[in-house]
C-alpha cells in the first residue's frame, strides 16, 4: 500500500459487479485512484461508465466486489459512521414537509448538534449558497436551482471534509449552472474541502477541477487522468483562454479514445 496519509480516497484495483437477473453487470473494474486532501476531482464519461457507482462505493452505499478502498484511511463504512462526507444527489431530495432551514437542520439533528449551533450553521450555510432569507420557505416554493443549492447547503452544514456530488447541476440551464459553478469554486476555496464531482459536461469539469478522471463503460474503468494546469483562482472568463481550451481538448480526446461511437 503506497497511499500516503494525506490521501482522502484511495482505491486499489477496485471492482464492482452487480448480479442482475440478466447476468452480471461490470460496473467498475480495476480502478486505481488517489484523491488528495483539498483536491477538486471531477469524474467524466459516457452514461453507464460507473461514475455514480464509484461515488456510492466511497459513500458506503454500495459494497465493492473486488480490490480495496479507503476513505480517510478507514473502510468506507467506518468513514460513514464517523460522518466523514456530505453527499449531494443528482436530485435535491429535500424532505417536502420540512422548510429549507429544517432540511438543512436534518443532518444536524441526527448528528446531535445543539440548538444554538444548528441555528448558526443554518444561517452560515444559507449565506454560503446565496439563499439567505429563504430559510422559512418550503421546497415547492423554490425553483429547481434553488432547491439544488439548498441540498448543497445541507451537505455543507456539518463538519465533513469530503463532499461527494453526483451531477448536482445536471438538470439546470446553462446560465444558472455557470453561476453555481462559480459559487462552488468560491465555496471550495473558502471551506478547504475535498470534492469529488460527477459531470457530463467537459467545460464544467475543466472549469472546476484540479484533476479530471475520464472513464469509459463496459466494463466501467478509468481511462485517463488529467491534471489541470489552471490556477486555483478562476474567473468565468478563463474558459476562453487557450490553456483552458487545451485541457478541454485533452479531455475530449480521452473520452473519444475510451469510447467508440460506432456501437
Amino acid at each position: 500500500m503506497t497511499s500516503n496519509s494525506a490521501s482522502v480516497v484511495s482505491a486499489r484495483n477496485l471492482g464492482l459487479t452487480f448480479e442482475t437477473s440478466d447476468g452480471p453487470v461490470n460496473a467498475l473494474t480495476g480502478v486505481d485512484l488517489d484523491v488528495a486532501k483539498g483536491d477538486f476531482v471531477s469524474f467524466i464519461g459516457p452514461s453507464g461508465c460507473g461514475k455514480t457507482t464509484f461515488l456510492r462505493v466511497i459513500a458506503d452505499l454500495e459494497k465493492p466486489t473486488a480490490g480495496s478502498i479507503t476513505v480517510n484511511g478507514m473502510t468506507p463504512e467506518e468513514a460513514r459512521r464517523r460522518r466523514a462526507y456530505g453527499y449531494v444527489f443528482q436530485a435535491a431530495a429535500l424532505y417536502p414537509w420540512r422548510t429549507i432551514e429544517n432540511n438543512i437542520a436534518l443532518p444536524l439533528e441526527i448528528m446531535g448538534y445543539s440548538r444554538e449551533d444548528r441555528k448558526a450553521r443554518i444561517e452560515r450555510t444559507l449565506e454560503l449558497v446565496n439563499l439567505s432569507g429563504f430559510g422559512k420557505k418550503y421546497p415547492w416554493q423554490l425553483s429547481g436551482g434553488m432547491q439544488q443549492r439548498a441540498s448543497i447547503a445541507r451537505a455543507l452544514a456539518f463538519d465533513a471534509d469530503l463532499l461527494l456530488m453526483d451531477e448536482p447541476f445536471g438538470a439546470l440551464d446553462e446560465i444558472v449552472r455557470d453561476h453555481l459553478n462559480e459559487q462552488l469554486l468560491k465555496l471550495w476555496a473558502r471551506t478547504n474541502k475535498t470534492i469529488c464531482f460527477v459531470t457530463h459536461s467537459i467545460p464544467e469539469a475543466v472549469y472546476l477541477s484540479t484533476r479530471i478522471i475520464v472513464m469509459s463503460p463496459r466494463p466501467g474503468r478509468v481511462t485517463d487522468v488529467i491534471e489541470s494546469t489552471l490556477p486555483r483562482e478562476r474567473p468565468l472568463g478563463i474558459r476562453e483562454t487557450p490553456e483552458f481550451l487545451e485541457i478541454a481538448h485533452r479531455v475530449r480526446e480521452g473520452l473519444r479514445a475510451g469510447h467508440s461511437y460506432e456501437e
Binding site: 459513500a59 458506503d60 452505499l61 460513514r80 459512521r81 460522518r83 462526507y85 456530505g86 453527499y87 444527489f89 436530485a91 431530495a93 424532505y95 417536502p96 414537509w97 420540512r98 422548510t99 436534518l106 443532518p107 439533528e109 441526527i110 448528528m111 418550503y138 415547492w140
Partner: protein
C-alpha cells in the same frame, strides 16, 4: 371566487341528485304501500280512488317503505322532542353506539399502526403476520361478532368493550394496509440520505418514514372510522342489546316499526358522515402544518 364555485360545483349537482332521489323515493313509497290500501279497501268492500290511495300511503303506521317526511318527523320527534337521557331518544342511542365506535376505532388505529411498524421493520413479521391480517378479513363479521360477545360475556366482560372490539376487528385492517404502504413510501434517495448520515433506525422512522406516511394514515383512518361504526352496530345486533342504533334497528324489525328502522339508519349514516368529515378535517390540518402545497 371560491364561494361562487362552491354554489356551482357542489350545491347544484348534489342538490339535484338529492331532489331526484327524494322524488324516486316518494314514487316507490306509493307503489310499495298501495297493495295494503287496496287490500284494506277490498276487505271493507269499499271503492278507493287513486288520489285517496296516494294520500293514505303517505301516512301508514307500518308502511313497507315509509315516505321521506315520515322519517324526518320520526327523527325530529326522537331527537329534539325527547330528553337525551330518555331511552326513546335517538340521540341517546346514537351516543351509545358512538362511544363503542370511538373506543374501537382508537384501539384499531393504534393496533394497526403498531402492526404496520412491526411489519415494515421486521422481515419475519412481514412474512408471518401479513397473511393472518388478510385472512382475518375473509371471515364474515356477522359470524364472528356473536362469538366475541358470548366469549367475552363468559369471562365477565360486557357492555362497551365487546362492541368496541368488533369495531377494532374491522378497523385495524385498513390502517395496517395503509400504514405498511405509507411507511414504505419514502424514495430510495431519501433513505440513502439517512444512510449517509448514519442515522439510527429510530431517527429514520421519526424523521422520514412517519412523516412520509401521513397521507396514507389519514386515508386509511377515514375508511377505518366508517367501518368502526358498522362494527359497533353489528355488535349490538346479536346480543339483544337494549340500547344503541343496532338495538333500535333490531327492535324496529321485530315490531315492524319501519319508520323507526329508517330513522335509525339515517342517524347512522349521518354519524358516519360526520366522523369521516372530522378525520378529513384533521387530515387537511396536518398536511397544512406539514407545509403541503395548498
Amino acid at each position: 371566487m371560491r364561494d361562487e364555485s362552491f354554489l356551482k360545483d357542489k350545491l347544484l349537482p348534489i342538490g339535484t341528485v338529492v331532489l331526484l332521489l327524494i322524488a324516486v323515493w316518494y314514487v316507490a313509497a306509493v307503489y310499495l304501500n298501495a297493495p295494503f290500501e287496496r287490500d284494506t279497501a277490498g276487505r271493507a268492500s269499499t271503492e278507493i280512488g287513486f288520489s285517496q290511495i296516494v294520500r293514505n300511503t303517505m301516512a301508514q303506521e307500518r308502511p313497507v317503505l315509509p315516505a321521506p317526511h315520515q322519517v324526518i318527523v320520526e327523527i325530529w320527534d326522537t331527537t329534539v322532542n325527547k330528553a337525551i337521557t330518555s331511552k326513546r331518544s335517538l340521540v341517546y342511542h346514537a351516543w351509545i353506539t358512538l362511544s363503542a365506535t370511538l373506543l374501537g376505532f382508537g384501539i384499531g388505529a393504534a393496533l394497526g399502526v403498531l402492526l404496520a411498524v412491526g411489519i415494515v421493520h421486521n422481515r419475519a413479521m412481514d412474512r408471518s403476520l401479513m397473511p393472518w391480517v388478510i385472512a382475518s378479513q375473509t371471515i364474515p363479521i356477522l359470524a364472528i361478532a356473536p362469538m366475541i360477545i358470548v366469549v367475552l360475556n363468559a369471562i365477565g366482560i360486557s357492555g362497551l368493550l365487546p362492541k368496541a372490539l368488533i369495531s377494532t376487528y374491522l378497523s385495524f385492517f385498513p390502517v395496517v394496509v395503509g400504514m405498511v404502504k405509507g411507511l414504505r413510501s419514502p424514495e430510495t434517495i431519501q433513505l440513502d440520505l439517512m444512510h449517509t448520515y448514519n442515522a439510527s433506525p429510530a431517527q429514520t422512522f421519526w424523521k422520514l418514514r412517519w412523516p412520509s406516511s401521513m397521507p396514507y394514515l389519514f386515508t386509511s383512518l377515514k375508511v377505518a372510522v366508517a367501518i368502526s361504526l358498522v362494527g359497533a352496530i353489528v355488535g349490538e345486533l346479536p346480543t339483544g342489546a337494549v340500547a344503541g342504533l343496532g338495538a333500535r334497528l333490531l327492535a324496529g324489525s321485530y315490531y315492524g316499526q319501519t319508520v323507526q328502522i329508517w330513522a335509525a339508519l339515517f342517524m347512522a349514516a349521518a354519524l358516519a358522515a360526520i366522523l369521516v368529515m372530522i378525520v378529513g378535517l384533521a387530515h387537511t390540518a396536518v398536511l397544512k402544518r406539514m407545509g403541503a402545497k395548498p
